[in-house]
């Protein structure tokens, strides 16, 4: 049946894209009071970082709506993936606006309802969007107070507000609520940002712990993820995939698949999809498609990758430099050289990439698990050659992201197929596709040459980072002669790589903290003392002392046989220090992590419980890349294809976890990532302390542990 096929071989027209007038949503929400925030320069920085294609809009970046029942809706382009801003943002809004917490609702990640946002990553929501949003809300509150005073017929200094009700200070019965002020009105207020929000001492809701606001929806199965939406006539699309990266399709024969009941084929150039109302039927039909490929693969695998990286022609840049390396060398009593390796690691969120595309008139709408709804909208608009006003992207709940869902290939696929067929199309990747198309955390090499002087101070630090990413690469220690060089190259990886929770910093912190440990051991001094002696930053010293106390650490030179390891680092504006206790089975090479203590200084903490949960999550997740997680591959052929050959942390690994968030009246910082950066280093150092063997490669699999132990003997 010809009608059931969808072919489009011609190039799409390249329509110019244009900005959407998002003020359209005013129509969608009806009456009430709208307040727009202009976030200006703050977001520009973020967007520039992210190399967004789109210029940052100059009009506004977030807004709140106050309905006539007093309900406050805060709309931001960020998404919720488990990091908890759906809980902490209403805390900020309610507290700043003096309205009950229950009255604040978040609308997130909808390109039509929310103002532009570059994406949810880098632990930036609270530290970057937060302060400006608060300043804007502070001003909104003043506007409301003025309106209230006018309504009550008194001067604006004579009124105050509590729980969303404005009242005359000396006559409390004379009052009007935010809701009443908003009633029957359609008021738009644009605010200039003058960052003067409340002082820490005035916080009532911020700084208190709240359980996840979405808890009930998630324990009842009612929370909607992209794959949970259903539409009449919706078809699952299973897409023909190459056997490896670097393989190109030569020919495909879909005739066998087409014979199957209810199956149709959609083809748009190299995109070949089998469609069926049932996921499994589509999957079964896809296996009937015969395809031929030609191969052009890189000659590299998970064993040779580090050599490959060092030999690959790369560009380098000096990230940071102070003093002079030659001077550092001559000032050093002894010099230690090391090379550290880190493997490719997958994001592996429990929810694979998923997207539902459908047409609304001539508009393509996509519900997608994406960390960057606006970036996805841009991508779809580009790929389809249609204007931004013809694309709407909505990110519902995400089943984890960790950086992996900044890539949105599945959303483009859904958009292309729905445009082609006119039907609602669900693209739900299976686990194998999720591993295949993941943008892995890059494998990397770190080379360090460092030295100490007679007094036990670090005199030399020459650090070379190959392909890890520069985040976290400059030394946190106080070294007069230090240099950090970062190497990068296009096409060094045989497949996609990308940002993975605290990008770059896991590898850099592992290498740096291992090296510090080597130096302390060589000097025969306690590794905590050695760190404290070589640090100047008070906040770093603060977290180290805090974690030592939390753990009950007593000094000893390594290896002490106790299996204690220390590591500290800096990420997303926050300071972290960890101490771990491990047991190493010398016969099997298996590491059991018994205890991990962590202290974190993230400035003011809006939701302490939420932050502790993030921290514990970082520790559990970090055990994976430290101990087992490693993508196996030959060229573009990725052997890792499911959890059967990619071991995530499990319940029996659970160490005793002790956490401490240092209470600080300082600007709030990121909390979703810092806690993970020390996990490689802290366990490597603990293994050394236990058995005297140094691990120069992550993950520290039993074979590698045994090898390292053999070298000690």
């Amino acid at each position: 049946m010809k009608d059931d096929k969808y072919y489009r071989d011609e190039e799409p027209e390249n329509n110019p894209t244009f900005e959407v007038d998002r003020r359209d949503f005013v129509k969608l929400l009806g009456g009430g009071l709208f307040i727009y925030f202009q976030l200006g320069e703050f977001l520009t920085g973020v967007a520039a970082d992210a190399e967004q294609q789109r210029s940052v809009p100059s009009d506004y970046n977030a807004f709140i709506h106050i309905a006539d029942d007093g309900k406050v809706t805060c709309m931001i382009g960020k998404i919720e993936m488990g990091q908890g801003i759906i809980t902490s943002f209403p805390q900020m809004v309610a507290d700043e606006l003096d309205t009950p917490l229950e009255s604040v609702k978040m609308v997130m990640g909808d390109t039509e309802l929310c103002p532009y946002d570059a994406g949810t990553w880098g632990s930036l929501s609270t530290r970057s969007l937060g302060p400006v949003m608060l300043a804007a809300i502070a001003e909104a509150r003043l506007v409301l107070l003025e309106m209230g005073a006018q309504h009550l017929g008194v001067g604006k200094n004579e009124v105050a507000v509590e729980n969303g009700v404005i009242f005359v200070k000396n006559k409390k019965s004379k009052k009007v609520s935010y809701g009443q002020l908003a009633k029957g009105k359609k008021i738009e207020k644009f605010l200039e940002v003058k960052p003067k929000a409340k002082d820490f001492s005035e916080y009532k809701i911020r700084g208190k712990s709240f359980n996840h606001a979405d808890g009930v929806a998630k324990v009842t199965g009612q929370a909607m993820y992209s794959g949970d939406f259903r539409m009449p006539g919706m078809l699952y699309a299973k897409i023909l995939r190459p056997p490896s990266h670097g393989a190109t399709l030569v020919s495909a024969d879909t005739s066998e698949a087409e014979k199957l009941d209810g199956i149709s084929i959609a083809r748009d150039k190299d995109l070949i999809a089998v469609l069926h109302a049932d996921f499994e039927k589509a999957e079964a039909a896809l296996s009937k498609v015969k395809a031929e490929y030609k191969f052009d693969e890189m000659k590299v695998d998970d064993k040779t990758v580090f050599k490959h990286q060092l030999e690959f022609p790369s560009e380098n840049r000096v990230v940071k430099s102070s003093g002079d390396i030659a001077t550092g060398k001559s000032n050093s009593e002894f010099i230690i050289e090391s090379e550290y390796h880190n493997s490719y690691v997958a994001h592996a969120p429990m929810e694979p990439h998923t997207a539902l595309g459908f047409m609304e008139g001539d508009k393509v709408v996509v519900r997608a698990s994406t960390q960057t709804p606006f970036g996805t909208q841009d991508g779809i608009s580009r790929e389809l050659g249609i204007g931004l006003d013809k694309v709407r992207v909505i990110a519902p709940f995400l089943g984890g992201g960790f950086g992996g869902k900044t890539a949105f290939r599945q959303a483009i696929e859904a958009a292309r197929l729905t445009k082609l067929t006119g039907k609602p199309i669900m693209v739900q990747w299976n686990r194998q596709e999720e591993f295949f198309y993941d943008n892995f955390r890059p494998a990397a090499v770190i080379k360090i040459t460092s030295g100490t002087d007679k007094a036990g101070k670090i005199a030399l630090w020459d650090y070379h980072e190959y392909f890890a990413g520069a985040r976290g690469s400059d030394t946190i220690y106080d070294v007069p002669d230090a240099k950090t060089t970062s190497y990068s190259a296009r096409d060094v990886h045989p497949f996609g790589t990308g940002a993975w929770r605290a990008p770059g910093n896991n590898t850099n912190t592992y290498a740096r903290e291992s090296q510090i440990d080597r130096m302390a051991a060589k000097l025969g001094v306690d590794p905590l003392d050695f760190r404290l002696k070589n640090l100047k930053d008070e906040r770093m010293i603060g977290v180290l002392n805090a974690v030592a106390e939390l753990f009950g650490y007593t000094p000893a030179k390594g290896p002490s046989g106790r299996g204690y390891g220390i590591a500290c680092g800096f990420d997303a504006g926050a300071y972290v220090a960890h101490i771990a206790e491990v047991k190493v089975d010398k016969i099997t090479g298996k590491i059991q992590v018994i205890r991990v203590a962590c202290a974190q200084d993230m400035g003011f903490c809006i939701n302490p419980q939420g932050s502790i949960i993030q921290l514990e999550g970082c520790i559990m997740m970090g055990l994976g890349y430290a101990l087992t997680e490693e993508v196996k591959f030959t060229g573009g052929d990725i052997h890792t294809n499911n959890f059967g050959n990619y071991q995530l942390p499990v319940f029996s690994w659970m160490p005793k976890i002790q956490t401490k968030i240092l209470d600080k009246n300082e600007a709030p910082q990121g909390g979703g990532e810092p806690g993970i950066i020390c996990m490689g280093g802290v366990i490597a150092n603990a293994v050394f302390d236990a058995v005297g063997a140094r691990l120069y490669q992550l993950p520290m699999t039993p074979e590698r542990v045994l090898e390292a132990i053999a070298k000690v003997k």
């Binding site: 488990g82 199965g221 794959g227 969120p349 959890f643 319940f651």
Partner: protein, 156 residues
């Protein structure tokens, strides 16, 4: 006439046409629109698709519909009664035992199966029983705490 199968789903008798090779996971998600049961790996590794079959936790991605005939299936949607959360659900909320929440339905169903068999588990037994359920967000400690406290509450 196409062959049909009957079984009990969350306390109600249901009947659907028997499809060869259809798994319980996708029958739930597509035929019954019970989307609380999640796809995570499709091969029995992750546990996000866990439901109860005759009070035994099973991985619905590996159960063929022909083997469901006459069985009693309970999914996450069947756990709360008249809007009142089941004690295990309540404990997950109280202990904040989730982040992204994608593993949560499977965790709760597996824990329920565990407690049905052993209402008085030690912490080690809980850890052991939950071992095959993966959580990428690392909510593990809270999940164990929630199950421990639910086991105590359920006795009352």
């Amino acid at each position: 006439m196409a062959e049909t199968i009957q079984f009990e789903l969350n306390g109600k008798k249901v009947e659907i046409p028997l499809e060869k090779n259809q798994t319980l996971l996708w029958a739930l998600r597509i035929n019954f629109n019970l989307t609380g049961t999640k796809y995570g790996c499709g091969l029995g590794y992750c546990g996000t698709c866990t439901v109860l079959m005759d009070n035994e936790p099973v991985r619905s991605c590996g159960i063929l519909m022909e083997d469901v005939a006459g069985k009693k299936i309970t999914t996450i949607e069947g756990m709360s009664v008249n809007g009142k959360l089941h004690p295990i659900q309540q404990a997950f909320v109280d202990h904040d035992a989730l982040q992204c929440g994608y593993c949560t339905p499977g965790m709760i169903m597996n824990a329920y199966g565990l407690l049905l068999k052993n209402p008085n588990p030690t912490k080690e037994q809980i850890v052991d029983g939950m071992e095959g359920n993966l959580c990428r967000c690392g909510a593990h400690t809270h999940i164990i705490d929630a199950i421990e406290s639910a086991s105590k509450k359920m006795k009352i």
